[in-house]
């Protein structure tokens, strides 16, 4: 707030309060009556002067109290040059400590801490150091200081997390953090230097030249050999009673490991196997006759005993064992090829659907209300009365996935949607590829492979309210969505029987049907397996609000935050519980698998990296002596309201003491 802000000026009126109160006080004189004053002598004048002074001091303190209170609320700031202790002759050691998941391996992190301490202990005169941690992001641990004790103290609370380090991202982030200073920088990076952490572009790993001053890069390796590591790579559930665990080894082919693989369902050990794992590649272990509970199941596959990187010896997976949801499929012919494709795709979807086929001729429209969503094999086959019933069903909140089959070819307009059909008829001999896909749509975000699909489509003219999700050349819609009332309808402008399109025989068909089904049935769209340090979009959980508990059972949202959609950082591995209006779901979180590959970068690569950085710095070393002093825009704002609050507290104490004393004098009693 500015000092001339209306609230500040209003607050200043509070100063009048003590003045007014003191004026009232002075008008009221309390006296003690005594029988006679013939034996009394007045006190020396000094007393009166002292009392008057105390009285004025008390009033001044009270005025000051209000003044400082108002000033504190105005949040005043002092401008000071940043990093005042850093000059052009200062060497600033920027220490970046790798805290990514791979640093949990063996003694990597302990070694890294020791290296950091060595750097700190070696700080000389006119040298300062700052400390950062690098994982999925960069975190400032300690700003530039010559005091090694502060830095050592800051080290004590550090530990590796579950994040994934990318060296290119790290250097880019460091550029933004250190570019404001004028010191000579030495960038120390202490890491295990995994190959998987290397940036795609080598140039991304080169720090910016800062004010033409050389930036030295000191790479401190904590591992010099490639450590063998095995991890649980994947967990697949099939037929609702079998689990296949994929174990990946990061070692040489000659290496092998005798391990015990355990399968736990909902924290209960169900099966275990003794296996010999290969040093390289994948090994698959199958567990049969696995018993799941209804609803979400926690599947934990463990490798025992643990190797040097224990964090990836367990993998958490969520399997939804809910009974298949019923879905109504309306068709002219239950024996048609389209029915077969649709049923097969829906029944094999991860969620699992029970397809109830109903011929249009025998349909009682009242049964529509029993289903959250329905499939129409050929929208051209429905008559006007059924079109009205379906329109009412959608308006009331239902959802429809409709295709345009043979019966739609002669339509003038599409029923329910009331879209005009163009004059350009479908030509069987001319199948066109897909040219546009809206991947932002929930039904398409997880599907891929549309590029290989060729189809002939019904040329529909849009009314303007529809959203085209997939289109061919010249923007001919393939898949569109329209909202009617409280419901929605998705129209595929081609057939699902492999007559007008090869979509049903392409792999993308199954995933598309699964995603479309999940979207139309309004189930939550949360991805049930996530990578650590990523974010969970609570809005995908089926509602705009909810609560999330981390693997330790700690609620992550305050009461007020639960009413707003949030992105929740997934910092821990394990199971997050998400409660929302869409129900309760589990989300399994595992470390990024790339961190499990402990293969380190080649020493020559690291040396080249240092050399390139040094060369870049030297070439850019041009004195910018004109930049003496600190520009105004570089001044740091230091809020001083805390100082005001401390002053306020002192004034309150002084006022209390003085006020009490003054009060005693005025009402002195016999």
């Amino acid at each position: 707030m500015a000092l001339l802000g209306p609230l500040f000026l209003l607050g200043l009126l509070g100063i009048g309060l003590p003045i007014w109160l003191h004026r009232l006080e002075t008008q009221v004189t309390e006296r003690e009556q005594f029988s006679t004053t013939m034996f009394l002598e007045p006190a020396r004048k000094r007393i009166h002067v002292q009392r008057k002074l105390k009285y004025l001091l008390l009033m001044a303190l009270r005025i000051l109290f209000f003044l400082i209170l108002v000033l504190a609320f105005a949040r005043p700031v002092l401008f000071s040059p940043p990093q005042a202790l850093i000059t052009e002759d200062t060497t600033h050691h920027v220490i970046v400590l790798d805290t990514s998941f791979s640093m949990q391996a063996g003694d990597s992190f302990a070694t890294a801490l020791q290296r950091v301490q060595d750097i700190i202990n070696g700080l000389g005169d006119d040298e300062v150091a700052s400390l950062y941690t690098a994982s999925s992001g960069i975190t400032t641990v300690a700003t530039a200081t010559p005091d090694g004790a502060i830095l050592i103290q800051a080290l004590s609370g550090l530990a590796p997390d579950n994040g994934k380090l990318d060296l290119g991202t790290m250097v880019t982030s460091m550029n933004t953090l250190i570019e404001a200073s004028q010191a000579n920088f030495v960038l120390h990076f202490i890491s295990d230097f995994q190959q998987t952490g290397q940036a795609v572009r080598f140039a991304d790993m080169i720090p910016d030249v800062i004010n033409g001053r050389p930036v030295l890069l000191e790479l401190e390796r904590v591992q010099t050999n490639n450590a063998a590591n095995w991890m649980v790579d994947s967990v697949l559930v099939s037929n609702r009673n079998a689990v296949e665990a994929g174990i990946r080894g990061f070692a040489t082919n000659e290496d092998s490991s005798e391990r015990t693989i355990t399968l736990s369902i909902n924290n209960m050990l169900q099966q275990e196997q003794q296996v010999t794992l290969n040093g390289g590649g994948l090994s698959f272990i199958n567990f049969d006759n696995v018993v799941f509970e209804e609803g979400d199941n926690r599947i934990d596959i463990r490798l025992l005993p643990n190797d040097s990187l224990a964090g990836d010896d367990i993998r958490h997976t969520v399997f939804d064992n809910s009974p298949p949801a019923p879905v109504l499929l309306l068709t002219e012919n239950p024996q048609s090829l389209g029915v077969t494709y649709i049923s097969a795709a829906l029944e094999t979807a991860p969620r699992g659907y029970e397809v109830i086929t109903q011929t249009l001729a025998d349909l009682d429209a009242r049964v529509l209300q029993r289903y959250p969503w329905i499939v129409i094999e050929d929208i051209g086959a429905i008559n006007a009365s059924l079109a009205t019933a379906i329109t009412d069903y959608v308006s009331g909140g239902g959802a429809v996935l409709a295709a345009a089959g043979e019966s739609s070819l002669g339509l003038d307009s599409v029923p329910v949607l009331d879209l005009a059909v163009g004059s350009n008829p479908i030509r069987r001999e001319n199948r066109n590829p897909i040219t546009m896909i809206d991947n932002s749509h929930p039904a398409l975000s997880e599907t891929s492979g549309w590029g290989s699909v060729n189809m002939q489509t019904l040329p529909v003219s849009l009314n303007g309210d529809e959203r085209v999700l997939i289109a061919q050349a010249d923007n001919r819609p393939v898949l569109l969505e329209s909202n009617i009332g409280r419901g929605r309808i998705m129209l595929l402008t081609t057939a699902l029987d492999n007559t007008l399109s090869d979509l049903p025989v392409k792999p993308v068909f199954v995933s598309f049907m699964a995603e479309a089904a999940r979207y139309l049935s309004n189930e939550n769209l949360l991805i049930r397996e996530q990578i650590a340090e990523s974010f969970l979009q609570l809005s995908l959980a089926g509602g705009s609000s909810g609560q999330v508990y981390d693997p330790d059972g700690v609620s992550l949202l305050s009461l007020s935050d639960t009413t707003q959609a949030q992105d929740i950082p997934l910092n821990k591995t394990g199971y997050y519980q998400v409660f929302s209006s869409g129900g309760e779901v589990l989300v399994a979180v595992n470390p990024d698998q790339r961190e499990s590959d402990l293969t380190i970068m080649d020493a020559q690569v690291l040396q080249n990296w240092q050399n390139v950085v040094a060369g870049t710095a030297n070439s850019g070393e041009q004195a910018l002596n004109s930049e003496s002093g600190v520009a105004d825009e570089d001044l740091e704002e230091n809020e001083i309201w805390r100082i005001f609050l401390i002053l306020l507290a002192l004034i309150v104490i002084a006022e209390s003491l003085l006020g009490n004393q003054h009060l005693r004098i005025r009402t002195g009693t016999l």
């Binding site: 003690e32 029988s35 004053t37 034996f39």
Partner: protein, 305 residues
């Protein structure tokens, strides 16, 4: 002394406590309670009690109770004589009660004026038991009320009524009321002056001396509150004079030392002034029971015969 008598004695002593008396609204009742309690507590009966043993005749004078006129003598001699009995002192008691504003001061439940009323009423009651003529004069800077000495029926009630309606007001000027009093008093008797004597000792002496020279026996009851005798304050305090309204701020150190010296000097001066005219000076702390004052009064009467 038996336990029962100890309890009786304690009960009687309690009746003399000013705080207990303050709870009694009837001043005559207070006087009776005080005197009866006081008399019953004495080890021997004083020679002031009513006696039926005839001693002599005395010529009737104004204020004497007509009931004691010997009508037989009157029929023989055509002169009025009063019978006198053993125990009678043939004395007049004149109560002079200071009602100046300073007498209204009191740190406890009883002000000096209230205490003076109790004392005056008790003295009047004692005297009435001996058939003394009793009168009262209330004064501040002038005579507020005056009732001449009389021993007739109802005179006690009249005196007590006069005392009862006294209120503290105005300042103190002993000259004017004393001059007026000297104009009224004709016969010898006892004069009990009840005051805090916040006046100059010399001035007081000048006003009392004529009374003594006129043959009056003067007893000066000097009433002071405990806070006047022994003030205790912790902080500088602004004191307002109850008579003049003058305000003076004083320090605790002054009140603890210099003031006490001054008040003690003043008391001493008053006492010396009293001794100079053979008057009795009785200093009374109004926090003390009334028996001290009554005892002094009786001693004084015995001494004066």
């Amino acid at each position: 002394m038996s336990p029962g008598s100890t309890e009786t004695r304690n009960a009687q002593t309690r009746l003399l406590d000013p705080s207990v008396l303050a709870s009694m609204s009837n001043l005559e009742l207070v006087a009776k309670a005080v005197v009866e309690g006081f008399v019953n507590g004495l080890h021997r009966s004083p020679k002031f009690g009513f006696s039926q043993e005839f001693v002599e005749y005395r010529e009737y004078s104004d204020g004497d109770d007509p009931r004691y006129i010997d009508w037989n003598v009157f029929s023989r001699t055509d002169r009025t004589y009063i019978k006198r009995f053993m125990g009678e002192t043939n004395s007049h008691l004149m109560l002079l009660l200071d009602t100046s504003a300073s007498m209204g001061f009191g740190s406890a439940s009883t002000s000096k004026l209230q205490y003076g009323k109790y004392l005056g009423a008790s003295l009047a009651y004692l005297s009435s038991r001996q058939h003394d003529a009793i009168g009262v004069m209330l004064f501040d800077d002038d005579v507020v009320d005056y009732r001449p000495p009389a021993s007739k029926v109802g005179s006690l009630q009249g005196v007590i009524h006069t005392l009862d309606k006294a209120e503290a007001s105005m300042g103190t000027d002993i000259n004017k009321p004393m001059n007026r009093f000297r104009e009224h008093v004709k016969k010898r008797g006892l004069v009990a002056v009840i005051s805090d004597f916040y006046c100059d000792a010399e001035e007081l002496l000048e006003n009392i001396r004529p009374l003594a020279m006129h043959g009056q026996d003067v007893i000066m009851f000097h009433l002071l509150d405990s806070d006047e005798l022994d003030p205790k304050i912790k902080q500088s305090t602004l004191y307002e004079d109850m008579e003049t309204g003058q305000a003076i701020e004083v320090e605790p150190t002054y009140m603890a030392k210099a003031y006490r010296e001054k008040i003690q000097n003043h008391i001493k001066n008053i006492e010396e002034a009293a001794n100079g005219i053979r008057a009795d000076h009785v200093l009374i702390n109004t926090a003390d029971p009334l028996d001290k004052a009554l005892h002094n009064y009786l001693t004084f009467r015995e001494k004066r015969g």
